[in-house]
Symmetry: C2
Subunit: 702 residues, 2 copies
Amino acid sequence: MNAFVARPVDSLDAVFKPRSVAVIGASATPTKIGGLPIAFLLAQGYQGEIFPINPKATEVQGLKAYPRIAEVSGRVDLAIVAVPASLVGQAIDEAIAAGVKGIVLFSSGFAEISEQGRAAQDDLVARARAAGVRVLGPNCLGFMNLSEKVFATFSPVVGQGVTASGRIGLVSQSGAYGAYAFTLARQRGLGLSYWITTGNEGDVDFADCLRWLVRDPDTDVILGYMEGCRDGAKLELALAEARAAGKPVVMTKVGRTEIGAQAAASHTAALAGEDAVFDAVFRQYGVYRAYSIEEFFDVGYAFSVAGIPAGDNLGVFTVSGGAGVLMADAADDAGLPMPALGADGQRRIRELVPFAAPRNPVDITGQITNDVGLFETSLEIMLEQGDYQLVATFLAAAGQGPMGEQIADQIGRVRARFPDRVFCAVSVFRDSVRERLEQHRCLAFEDPSRAIRALAALAGFARQRNKALPASRTVEAPTLTLRAGNYSEADSFQVLADFGVPVPESHLVADGAEARQRIADDGRAWVAKIASADIPHKSDIGGVRLGLRGGDAVAEACDAVLAAARQACPEARIDGALISPMEGDGVECIVGVQRDPTFGPVVMLGLGGVLVEVLKDVSFRSAPVNRDMALEMIDELRGRALLDGVRGQAPSDVSALADLLVRVSEFAMASGDSLDSLDINPVRVRSAGHGVVALDAVVIGR
Amino acid sequence: MNAFVARPVDSLDAVFKPRSVAVIGASATPTKIGGLPIAFLLAQGYQGEIFPINPKATEVQGLKAYPRIAEVSGRVDLAIVAVPASLVGQAIDEAIAAGVKGIVLFSSGFAEISEQGRAAQDDLVARARAAGVRVLGPNCLGFMNLSEKVFATFSPVVGQGVTASGRIGLVSQSGAYGAYAFTLARQRGLGLSYWITTGNEGDVDFADCLRWLVRDPDTDVILGYMEGCRDGAKLELALAEARAAGKPVVMTKVGRTEIGAQAAASHTAALAGEDAVFDAVFRQYGVYRAYSIEEFFDVGYAFSVAGIPAGDNLGVFTVSGGAGVLMADAADDAGLPMPALGADGQRRIRELVPFAAPRNPVDITGQITNDVGLFETSLEIMLEQGDYQLVATFLAAAGQGPMGEQIADQIGRVRARFPDRVFCAVSVFRDSVRERLEQHRCLAFEDPSRAIRALAALAGFARQRNKALPASRTVEAPTLTLRAGNYSEADSFQVLADFGVPVPESHLVADGAEARQRIADDGRAWVAKIASADIPHKSDIGGVRLGLRGGDAVAEACDAVLAAARQACPEARIDGALISPMEGDGVECIVGVQRDPTFGPVVMLGLGGVLVEVLKDVSFRSAPVNRDMALEMIDELRGRALLDGVRGQAPSDVSALADLLVRVSEFAMASGDSLDSLDINPVRVRSAGHGVVALDAVVIGR
């Protein structure tokens, strides 16, 4: 785990909720970087004091200006620094001396351009930290606090209009992306609480902002855009806090793919961990990962307007059969069950609309154009008689006509009778209809598939939230120090066995003669393998012999693998030959621990053979892994069905496999930074009740 | 293959391009089903003659009305029938007698409600067909011809405004879906040539409309919405004609999933074939399959505005690093290569913008706000120096400001210099900017991921189009009549061998003694299997023995499998024992032929073992399959890499596997309707150059 300096989150209050703002480098020109924030603060009606700092002016944009921040008589919470890089040092020092608590540093020319710039940045941040002053930036677009009208940004998008003040907090590592997202949020009518860009993250980073928004009473939902992360442990802490607070987090993390990661590397200095591990960490904490800006906002919108459903059964109520089928397909893709309406409910729907399809989707057909009241009556029947926590209604183009308001009111009444259900309406809406629906906390979407995806996101959050929180993931101090380098198979087995990892019966022998003495001709089949920490790939050099029956065969094989190893690897230190009984049938898996640059030790599980090699069918979790998490890892494998038994085979011992993952995680936590990696390949998973056994293992210390 | 009556496609001209229209059941009330089309025709300015037919009126909506169609003196091309089901028969007969060439039948109450209704529908259609009159419907919303203002529909969406006249033809099996799509198309500013709903498809079906639009000079792109298909052969013909004409087809086919198929079954009487087979047929003809309405229109829009690219290399040009990474991720997902800009080009970009990321994405940063000319200059460098056929530009929010027009003009000039490239711009656009871009045939999208998806669709069409058309897929008359029921393994091998399918050396023997005489002790290992058409699952009853070395072992095994079979299946007719040499290493596949209810014989390929059983990793093609198609089938397998050789194994003989698929297809075509199914499981694919061999096979005749 990476260490991090735990700075109190509320130290960011002065940055994000300042009662007074000084702008160092204030400009009278409202389109300049030092003029924009003053223009925005004035235009948007910020209620705190604004102190323009400019050595050459006595007045800036109608406000009294000060030559230096020291000459401001009142208290200054936040200093916005908008001067060229060469003047930033002095500005920061003066701001610290003046007693500010927070700094937003717009200036570029630091870590993003050169190592020299990075050194200058580190120096500035160290000075601010020593004085207890938090710094957002450098090289950032700043932030906005929409409810208190703090526009500490120079992004020109504010000049084109601002979003409503609302309950969605948005944090972006990229200024340009953040600005674009702001424009789209405004266009979609989403209400934001905060908009924050973190730039170079010299001091305040993405996870700090996340933690602060988790505590902010004005924020219900957090949208994040990430390119990389330097402190995985802090990010995990932030996500755990969000989960504990019940605040949904929607995340776009770019650089997912090989091309994307290359592009990200050329764009940012952020250290990018393995994307699959980010993915696992997001899943671990119930974070919704969005793959496009549209999905990002669709899901953020859904969380901010609708409640969290109590379950994931979906009822589709439609006036068009075709749209109903389309939505049923989308529901299946998204894993939302669509149980059929009960016989009684179906009968009652048919009584109202003889040609209705009453199953689910419930299709009441175009009849509604003749009698709009049918909508409410039949929707009520559906919800009374069916066990649906999610309700998607397709209204065709009715949302555009005068019928739209009527239907919105009907939905409002039905919602009042079934307040724990989550409602969504799909149509082309005029604004008045959309607004009325949203007042009733009913989502409004134009695209049926996007509507279903958003409902599935709500259901996924509910599923995750309804699970018991994982048992304490507190990290104990390491208790085991591994030596550097490869452990032999025998040594690996020994160190793992201490943590309860089942390893095979095995005998280390010097030669065939010793093997002959050690084992009885008890009818079992044996395997003989070369024992050497210097030969990790034993099969490749003829160092493994299988299916040996009887002492003579075992003895001959031991001598053969020793001879093969001496010939192929004359430099290798050889401990002898390792003999074990052959394992019977079962499913082969791979279990391991890797060290991720961002998140530290990561537990890995894959199905053996073709599935892991050809299809890369693996799942990850950041350690420590408890039993619930281990079971989730197993369920995430695409080839999961293999463990249920195919071709008449018995189901595998999934419970023992989960235990093994927990034990491997305990081993990783105990060995701390001394563990480089562990690879147990294969693990044989026997039939249910018969456990698992590691058939080969390599521990590597660092 | 299903037979179909090949009716000349141009017989639909009178339906879709009528010079005069009679409305039987015309109403003076412009909101009634018989009033709406007249109101629309008048309001939209249809230039042909309109004849309202109503026995009780002399004037309808200001037009002279006729009591019966027989009394119209001029020629009537198209009759719209909008009377209750009970009166339809008489209306149709009178229309036929009056010499109409086409009928649009709005009325419902036919096949969609009962078997009696279906009989009435069949009867009506038969009468029309006998007179050479085409019928659209019944139970349909009609159609629109946007350029000639023929609004032969009663969908109220027309009253809310119509789409522009354009070059996209839209055909929908669902009226309500079609109406909703029309509303969205209008809202997105898409131009349609025709909008057609097919309803019950008593006569004119989806494929007929597709074929007609392929020939229509005013239609460039065809969007289709399908729920099912009764005549797969005609649909294949239509898709082949579209492909040959170079007209892209974008298709939404619902009922993809299990829930969706259930919903479709309760919604429509259309016979739904296996969805995976539809998918394969779409792929076979280069149809783009859209999974949401949004994707449907995004891709349709892209085809209608931009040209078809000459290749699929994507250059991303951006003013925001973050958006560039997001687009690179999306490109990777979509399979679009993003080669790096050459060193010279990178150098020249850096000369213009020192802190640019010049690789690809080319990120010229926010510098553009200071010097908008940088856009054109650097984009030109990128296109001169890089081999990009697709160009995606991200403009942040510039499309909304005054800079938007300037950039649109710059793109127009660059496009003029590189006319064969396909351009796309991503921003939030004001209408004037969007229109200017589209005049330059540059796509305009708000969402970066959707933009990339649309470009990938264009590239996919180009790839498919650049392939040679498959060799003639003409269906020869069947030359082989299989007997009904299961063929034994030996008989299956024999009939397949006649078509060039490689089968193992094998000997059918009556007992062990005969086996002892037939084979030499040549060191090979043998397998012995029970030979009986009545025992398809031989292993389950102990009817297979492997790894037999020497004549004695083979003889003993033959007697053993015969004894086991007699005991387990006393009723089975037993031909003897079949002995074959054991096959060495290789990759196991499954090859088969199934009979799809829509498309007839379908060739199937899967990778053996876990991949097909657990992951359902199979690919399909509607027969006949030529060699190119066979190679595509192989490439579609998710586990394709297994055939390239994993764990140091040699690559497999993919060429021979493709030949096998072709031979199996030839067998299927030759046996025609007498083949129920073929299952070759497993096929052993040996290393490259060593061919394939069928290790077991079951032919079933019908």
